[in-house]
Amino acid sequence: MENEDRTERIDRYLENTLSPAKKIAFENEMAANADFRLEVEAQEAVRNLISSQAEKENLRQLFATFHAEMEAMPTGKEESQVNEYLQNKKGIQRQLQWSNWSYMAIAASVAILIIGVWTVWNNTKLTGGLTGNKSEIRVDERNEVFRVPMLSWKTEGFKPVLQDRRMIDVTIVRSKEYHSHYRFTDILEIYSDKLTEKQQKISIAYDVDLQQYRLHIGKSSYTIRKTEQIAPLRQP
């Protein structure tokens, strides 16, 4: 117990939160006891080192995300092809609104609006899935379809290391029955009345070690799993 007090006492001295009397006593002890002085110095160094390591770890994580975003950027050529394609099909389609994603630099992809989102979902098997770059997703006007990055992370030592990055098709479904639910197969369906892609930044993180998917919507995050069923969105 005495040692525990010692750690906290040194902390309070380093944070300058000791009372004046205790501070004087502390400094007298340091002056008289070289070993104690070394302990204070060591604790300060450990605190600084831990903070600086953590700060660097956080930066590395951030840079890994920037790097992944940078690599996911479309080339100019792809972009112009997409625009040309969109112009040809004007009237029945709208270009996905990437504006708030501009710095996320999402790989160019096109979603086509025609009729009834269920039509395609039910035909998934026939069309071979929806994940390819050229796949078309048919939705009605009430539903949004877009792509979000899915980053896979593995923890090595203390820092998360990016393993893989791919884009996942996501649609927001307005439903009478489900209001905060999801279904996650090749694509992710989010059932919500209010959510729109333009207002909230949406991304998926996959923890390779825990084999867990995390859905980030704005500042909230939810644990999700691959499922054919419609499941409620739960915060961990």
């Binding site: 750690t7 070394l38 604790q43 450990v46 080192l49 903070s51 660097k56 840079f63 920037f66 203390f158």
Partner: protein, 188 residues
């Protein structure tokens, strides 16, 4: 060169300093190309370029956060390039390779040397590993993330805040003991 108006990139530096991730992201993405080019031209790979870039970017961001580049006389991108350049030369040297002559002729910026690579800190970093991963996470949560003991208990799976606190103090006892020994060797 210190001018009266301070750095030509003053707004950018202040944005990064205040934690603006969007500004930092743009700065990161805008400057990678030059470093990739430098490294690829000088016997490095894509991975080398990313590694060295993230290292020098870390260094520059930490310098910005500590206010050491508030009066930077050159463009921030020029400064970053210099830091990366010297870092890459160092790595080539360690591998026994040489930089192509003349490549850094246009470097005009003096680089601030960081002192956090002192032998004492390096030795401390090495021995600190001995306190174990869980202790490191605990100390990090307490001293860096500044979480409360209740938050730490729930995050790291302790029964309650008291057991988290007593474990935190034990971890610091261990770390302080290791640190003290390193200091003793350092002073002797």
């Amino acid at each position: 060169m210190i001018t009266e108006i301070g750095s030509p990139d003053f707004p950018l530096i202040q944005a990064i300093k205040s934690g603006n991730e969007k500004a930092l992201g743009l700065f990161y993405k805008d400057n990678y190309g030059k470093i990739l080019h430098l490294v690829l031209k000088n016997s490095g790979s894509d991975d080398d370029a990313r590694d060295v870039y993230q290292d020098c970017m870390t260094e520059v961001v930490l310098q910005i956060r500590r206010g050491r580049l508030d009066q930077l006389g050159s463009r921030l991108s020029t400064y970053l390039y210099s830091v990366c350049y010297y870092k890459w030369i160092d790595r080539l040297r360690q591998k026994g390779k040489m930089m192509q002559a003349g490549y850094g002729d246009d470097l005009e910026t003096a680089v601030i040397e960081e002192d956090d690579s002192s032998p004492y800190l390096q030795a401390l970093e090495k021995v600190l590993g001995q306190i174990g991963e869980k202790c490191m996470m605990l100390l990090k949560a307490f001293y860096y993330e500044k979480l409360t003991m209740t938050q730490i208990a729930s995050k790291l799976g302790f029964a309650d805040e008291n057991s988290a606190k007593s474990q935190k103090n034990k971890c610091m006892d261990k770390a302080r003991f290791l640190g003290k020994n390193v200091l003793k060797q350092h002073y002797s």
